[in-house]
């Protein structure tokens, strides 16, 4: 019985901690996802090259480069937010954002801000498409009627942005050339 209660408590705690995740606000009162990463093993030039590659190749379909200097990369992007019902889900909207990356020797930082939500609606062919072209800032305070749905959108957006951030950090820390070579290794059965 003790174990069951402990299990429930653990699940409840995990759920609570998941709900508590939320965006910080920047100097202008806008939501921001801001990360500073220590990166002593990778040079500044390599970090920049990998950041450009992440925008131009990995996220080619959802990100558009806006500019680049010898220490920064700017881009605009969109990410699709899903609505989950038990095990199935469907897109509920998309969030557009501005992405900024800056590198220095031994560290880098990046942030996503200016987030706008565009709801999706199902079209006549059963596909989910944007219901409007004008996005709503994620910082807005919704009316009573839409408060619950807006909270779900904020939670889903935070989870997506956090996942994006993790993927970006992993990409910048990984040497793709070596990895490709390693994958291409062949195994001979002629010797033990």
């Amino acid at each position: 019985m003790k174990y069951i209660l402990f299990g429930f408590l653990a699940i409840f705690s995990v759920k609570l901690s998941a709900q508590q995740k939320q965006f910080s606000k920047d100097d202008n009162g806008k939501f921001i996802y801001y990360q500073v990463v220590d990166s002593q093993l990778v040079s500044k030039d390599t970090l920049l090259q990998r950041a450009r590659s992440f925008v131009n190749v990995v996220y080619k379909k959802s990100m558009k480069p806006e500019g680049s200097t010898d220490s920064s990369v700017l881009a605009k992007g969109t990410m699709v937010i899903d609505k989950t019902i038990l095990v199935a889900s469907h897109p509920s909207g998309e969030v557009s954002y501005n992405f900024v990356f800056e590198a220095r020797q031994g560290k880098y930082r990046f942030w996503l801000t200016d987030m706008l939500f565009i709801p999706y609606q199902r079209d006549r062919y059963g596909n989910f498409v944007p219901a409007t072209t004008i996005g709503v800032p994620l910082e807005r305070t919704p009316g009573k009627l839409g408060a619950g749905a807006w909270k779900d959108i904020l939670n889903s957006t935070y989870n997506k942005v956090e996942k994006f951030g993790d993927e970006f950090k992993k990409y910048l820390a990984t040497n793709r050339v070596e990895k490709t070579k390693k994958n291409a290794e062949t195994i001979s059965t002629k010797k033990w």
Partner: protein, 341 residues
């Protein structure tokens, strides 16, 4: 038995391995449920001259609609079924005689050859017109004369080429309107030009020629909407349908305007003003309807309440007054609840 199990496991693991290599979206499940109350001011259900919302002084059912979609690599499918009066006897066609079965809304497969070029085959919601069968896709709960008299769905094969985000072209061959299998062969050709001249404004110029209502005919349609500001949206639908044999009734022309204004985050007020003319055919004279529908959409999560007042006019008196005599005007109030998931 052992061999069979081994074969099944091998196939399953191969499928799993393949699935890892091909990008696959999760199975999407979505749909809607709707119900309504309608009161006809003349207490006569026959005053409803357009599709759905037919009952008077009754809490009545719309439909339950369930759609599945899955995309694996470049291939995808959509299957969408509806049950309930709106999706059965009041939709065309009903899968079984007697109006007690179901209606297929969409059942098609699609393949994206490139990011720009795709082909689709199966049974699809029509590309003609502004309004659709699903109440989730419409702002007003009652429907327009243009919707009621146009095609609901088309089975066929179509190819779409996207020149840019602002221009795309679709062309295809189709069965006659609203049938799962062709009764007159694959006998219609259709096309759609989409243009988006400025952000927020999208226009579709559609044409469909071949077997349709009343024999062979040609329909030309303009469907456009413009989100002018964050709060104000304007839609327009105009169409002309001519049946080849001019003695057969059913040719029509009309236009409907859809201004909508968001008065609060969750509340939007909209008007539909429509002019619709049934053309003269043989001994049947021309007749024209005008209709004004004032609708509100009040949203709370997935639920939308739709209160609506509708007034119709036709000087040829196709409506009925309280005593059952022919009248030039019809009017109704309805309150619908639509839940989308």
């Amino acid at each position: 038995m052992k061999k069979l199990l081994t074969a099944i496991f091998t196939m399953a693991s191969t499928t799993c391995a393949l699935a890892q290599e091909v990008a696959s979206s999760p199975l999407e499940i979505s749909g809607s449920v709707d119900t309504y109350f309608k009161y006809d001011f003349a207490k006569n259900p026959l005053n409803a001259k357009t599709s759905f919302v037919t009952d008077h002084n009754s809490v009545s059912l719309g439909m339950i609609d369930i759609a599945l979609k899955k995309k694996t690599g470049k291939a995808s499918f959509v299957g969408e079924l509806s049950f309930g009066p709106r999706g059965q006897s009041q939709s065309i066609p009903d899968a079984a005689a007697g109006g007690s079965s179901f209606n297929i809304q969409n059942l098609y497969v699609n393949y994206d050859f490139t990011d720009e070029f795709s082909m689709t085959a199966g049974y699809m919601g029509t590309f003609i017109g502004y309004e659709v069968i699903s109440p989730v896709g419409n702002f007003n709960y009652s429907t327009s004369y243009l919707f009621t008299n146009g095609p609901f769905q088309n089975a066929g094969i179509k190819a779409t080429y996207k020149f840019s985000d602002k221009v795309s072209l679709m062309a295809g061959v189709f069965n006659d309107w609203n049938v799962y299998s062709a009764t007159r062969g694959v006998s219609a050709v259709g096309g759609q030009l989409m243009v988006a001249p400025v952000e927020g404004w999208t226009a579709y110029i559609n044409a469909l020629s071949g077997a349709g209502f009343g024999g062979y005919g040609t329909i030309v349609d303009l469907t456009t909407s413009y989100q002018i500001t964050e709060k104000f949206k304007l839609g327009l639908n105009a169409a002309n349908y001519d049946i080849k044999d001019s003695s057969v009734p059913g040719s029509y022309a009309g236009a409907a305007l859809y201004p909508q204004y968001a008065v609060a985050d969750a509340v939007t007020i909209g008007l539909r003003g429509e002019y619709f003319k049934v053309k003269e055919a043989g001994a049947v004279p021309e007749t024209a309807f005008t209709a004004v529908t004032l609708t509100a959409n009040i949203k709370s999560g997935g639920l939308t309440f739709i209160p609506e007042v509708r007034l119709d006019h036709n000087s040829d008196k196709p409506f009925f007054n309280k005593s059952g005599a022919a009248a030039p005007n019809g009017g109704q109030f309805s309150l619908a609840a639509v839940y989308a998931f």
